[in-house]
Amino acid sequence: MLAYPDEYRREREAEIVGTLLDEAVHGQEWPSARQIAALAAGGLQTRARVAAATPRRMLADGLRLGAVMYFVLLCASTIELSLRHTVFGTPSGTLGHFGLVDLEAVVLAICVVALAGAAHEIGLAAIVGAVTIQAIMFRDAPVPFDPPHLIVAGWILVTGVVAALAWHPWLRPLRRPWSARFAALALAGIGLGTLGFLAVDAATLWTTPVLVRLLVVTQPQLSVPVAVLLVAAVAGLDPRPALAATVAVAADAATHLQTLVAFSSYLELPPVQYELGTVVSLVLAGAALAITVVSARRRVRI
């Protein structure tokens, strides 16, 4: 029943659970896999049905979830960097500032929680803080980073989305906080995912083919959540998760693109990884956008 909106649960849970109990075989404690799958899909479709009454809310929810997702991803890579420093010692990369990376991870986590709670002003302040930290790290990096104005390409996109959510009068009346459950779940997922990622990374990074490495090893933090969002969009007949995936992946593609441009002059870095990363992100963004448009246009059949 967790898939259903809270308000709907308060109103209907007793009735639905009653029906499940009527159906249950004597001694059965849990619903069957078929029932659980139907409840999950039913919950997602109910969310879409409730939200579809206000198209603005669909748009605002999708954009906000996308912005949150992007910062969840950034937070994940920052935590990874921070853990990498701790576990493997400082790598020969460009970010040699242990303390700043830790601080950035905390600021990004604040950003995720603030956006999930619809505190967009605090979210924007956290974004500005994180950009500043990032700029300081790049300024002090052992390898000069050039051109500096490209550092925050993805961030600019998402900052625009957040600013629109906070101040655009058309979206503003629909601001409402989500439950803290989502933010807590996402952050816990990051922590566990990152630890697993580091373990796999240390064992296999240089022995797997490049494309597999990108999708499964190097970018699980992108491909796994995006896959989850797209499945939710299709199963729930809901364009919002697909719109969120589009925003998050487009921002990620922008980040990859700026990394590609900025690092192209440094031959010691493997450029193929960034090129493929950009292509993968752009293809994912296109697919997510297509699913968004199709699911937004599709009329639900009775």
Partner: protein, 102 residues
């Protein structure tokens, strides 16, 4: 109209039923082919209520379990009939032809 929805409406033809009652009746009417899961049933019922084809009849508490009974509205009865006529016309299209005989 989707098949589960058709059977939910058909189950309500003979009078109001609660959730489990609809599941059982749809199972009987379809000779065991349509097995509605609770999640699917309530999505269908909510859409039918939104469209004005079904409505809540009454609520009863039995053995501490809340049972909400649903009934067809006039519009629902008409929509079900229209869908049945459409299906009958489609069936005649095939069954009336010599080539369709086994």
């Amino acid at each position: 109209m989707r098949e589960p929805t058709f059977y939910v409406l058909a189950a309500l033809l003979d009078g109001p039923l609660h959730g489990y009652g609809i599941i059982k009746r749809a199972d009987e009417l379809s000779a065991g082919r349509v097995r509605l899961a609770a999640g699917t049933l309530y999505v269908a019922l909510d859409r039918l209520r939104d469209a004005g084809l079904a409505e809540v009849d009454r609520e009863v508490v039995v053995d501490g379990r809340l049972r909400r009974y649903y009934r067809l509205t006039g519009t629902g009865r008409e929509a079900l009939r229209a869908e049945a006529l459409r299906m009958a016309a489609a069936a005649r299209l095939v069954l009336g032809r010599a080539g369709a005989q086994p």
